[in-house]
């Protein structure tokens, strides 16, 4: 073989390898478009409809709750008569189902058809798509390593001084001690890896250097999550309602920020600390990279948390930093099922600067025994200008403006919103459970609300008229009355 022939063979080999790689990628794309979840949940739906839903955000499903006594066989018969497909059952709520319309009819029309079946159907509603986008990052910091001399019980996390919500020194226009009294609380407990907090959001970057040690991992003795209709999930690192075969990695950032507020590892000489220095964060991803999700995916994720609890996982809190003015009875019923499972549900009150007593915001406005609705405060202990409020419907306030926490790619950033206030309440709840593992959800909720610090500016604005206080909640100090 002469030298020229060698190069020709090498060139052919390179082309073949490249071609194989391209074909492999195409195969992977095809697999991702027709992954197990889609195949299992939409066996008889042609691929064009799948693409319409996945790629264009259409909502071909309705949520239908059948009346007690209607059997699964009857439901299958009723849906088949309409050329519909029973896509899934929500196991935690009796009679609640997800139904695909195979005729591509308007979802509202389909919902109305089921609603009119009053003999068998309790209610039917559209499975709305939930949407958000990748937010513009105001300030992303790289991981800062380096040890600062700890003082007076302060953790050695380099950015701790910027975490005014935990320890407000009065810097940057803040008000001294307008915070959660974290230092005092930490003299009692810094959290526990026995407490699991579910973050129902865009996923969590569970590889983040400041989160990885506090992430929940499914124990070997807990079986993988399996759903009759959706199949078996890859839930080693949590739940991904947008794609059963993928892990719940955050591709937006919002969920990672909320997770860091609850439980970025503390006193590890890296970045920030959560209100819990030690905890277990369980990601429940129901929002996709572009921000797409649906009421159904939120319901499925809550259903997952309930199932894990029944399987021995100590998930006690669901943190929900999202919402809208649209009401879903199916979502309400599922959150009620979480209450029945003794799981606290903490929800953002919303950022329209409006009164939720007059213009309801959900899920925070659901009048359920496990819901805490959270308003946001600034570093001066004032209700943030954007925060919703409501004497009857918003229960308590927490720091929610200029909050520094973890972000994607081992980053950190400040963000504002009731989204940020919510995980502080979830985090304080986790601290309480760490110190009182057998506390009931009802008593936990009462403890958080009863231990708030009264603020003059919250009078007539939120039910407790106060800011949550970690130290008070743990019984360290007497309740402050700053207006007295």
């Amino acid at each position: 073989m002469n030298r020229n022939n060698i190069w020709i063979h090498v060139a052919i080999a390179v082309v073949l390898i490249t071609l194989a790689g391209v074909l492999g990628q195409i195969s992977r794309w095809k697999t991702s478009l027709n992954g197990p979840r889609v195949e299992l949940s939409r066996q008889s739906v042609d691929h064009l409809e799948i693409e319409t839903w996945d790629l264009q955000g259409e909502a071909p499903e309705v949520l239908v709750r059948f009346k007690s006594g209607v059997t699964l066989n009857e439901i299958r018969r009723l849906t088949a008569e309409k050329n519909d497909n029973l896509s899934d059952e929500i196991e935690s709520v009796a009679g609640l189902t997800v139904i695909d319309d195979l005729d591509n009819a308007d979802a509202q029309i389909v919902a109305n058809q089921y609603s009119s079946m009053t003999d068998t159907v309790e209610y039917a509603e559209i499975n709305y798509q939930i949407k958000l986008d990748d937010p513009v990052q105001k300030s992303v910091f790289q991981v800062r390593l380096g040890r600062r001399e700890p003082s007076a019980g302060m953790p050695n996390d380099p950015m701790f001084a910027d975490q005014w919500a935990l320890n407000n020194s009065g810097a940057n226009g803040g008000k001294e001690r307008a915070d959660l009294d974290a230092l005092e609380a930490w003299t009692h407990t810094k959290g526990s890896d026995e407490v699991v907090v579910a973050v129902l959001d865009s996923g969590v970057d569970f590889t983040h250097v400041d989160l990885i040690e506090n992430m929940w991992v499914r124990p070997a003795n807990v079986p993988a999550y399996s759903d009759d209709e959706l199949g078996t999930f890859n839930d080693i690192n949590g739940y991904n309602g947008t794609d059963a075969i993928r892990d719940p990695m955050d591709d937006n950032g919002h969920g990672t920020h909320c997770a860091g507020i609850i439980g970025a590892e503390g006193d590890n000489a890296i970045g920030v600390t959560g209100i819990n220095q030690k905890v277990r964060i369980m990601p429940l991803k129901f929002l996709g990279r572009g921000g797409y999700g649906s009421t159904n995916d939120a319901i499925e994720a809550i259903n997952y948390a309930i199932d894990r609890k029944k399987n021995g996982v100590n998930v006690r809190i669901i943190s929900a930093s999202w919402g809208s003015t649209s009401r879903s009875k199916a979502l309400e019923d599922t959150i009620r099922a979480a209450a029945d499972a003794d799981i606290l549900f903490v929800a953002a009150a919303g950022n329209d600067g409006s009164d939720n007593d007059r213009r309801a915001h959900y899920p925070s406005n659901y009048d359920l025994p496990n819901v805490i609705s959270v308003a946001a405060l600034d570093r001066g202990d004032q209700l943030a200008s954007f925060s919703n409020y409501g004497l009857k419907t918003v229960h308590v306030a927490a720091p929610g403006k200029d909050i520094l926490s973890t972000w994607l790619n081992n980053g950190y950033r400040e963000a504002s919103g009731t989204s940020m206030a919510t995980p502080y309440v979830s985090g304080v709840a986790a601290l309480i459970i760490a110190s009182d593992p057998n506390i009931t959800m009802k008593n936990l909720r009462a403890r958080i609300l009863g231990a708030s610090d009264d603020l003059e500016g919250l009078k007539g604005k939120v039910q407790t008229e106060g800011r949550i206080c970690a130290a008070n909640s743990l019984g360290n100090i007497v309740k402050e009355h700053s207006h007295e």
């Binding site: 955000g57 919002h254 921000g291 999700g293 930093s321």
Partner: protein, 93 residues
């Protein structure tokens, strides 16, 4: 000027012209300004949409046509028409 922003403004103008059955030349750009919105749906959620309750940065794009004013909201990843005949619409995402 950010080319993404330019593209979004052009897209919004075309969309409004189509909705009003006008030509783009009949739609007058009144201004584009930086803005902060209450949530990740840019304060313009469609019916039933839910979004993360985090303050989000973007742009407010205003047009005038046929004696009325119209507002679009956008950021790097989406474009929405705010309060058009009482409803919000996602134009691009």
């Amino acid at each position: 000027m950010n080319p993404t922003r330019d593209k979004l403004v052009a897209r919004a103008k075309t969309d409004l012209a189509e909705r009003l059955k006008l030509t783009p030349n009949d739609v007058r750009e009144l201004g584009v300004s930086d803005a902060e919105f209450p949530d990740m749906a840019l304060g313009a959620p469609e019916s039933g949409e839910m979004s993360a309750q985090m303050i989000s940065s973007g742009w407010r794009i205003k047009f005038g046509a046929g004696g009325k004013n119209y507002e679009y909201r956008a950021d790097k990843y989406q474009l929405r028409l705010h309060n058009f005949n009482g409803e919000n619409h996602v134009i691009e995402s």
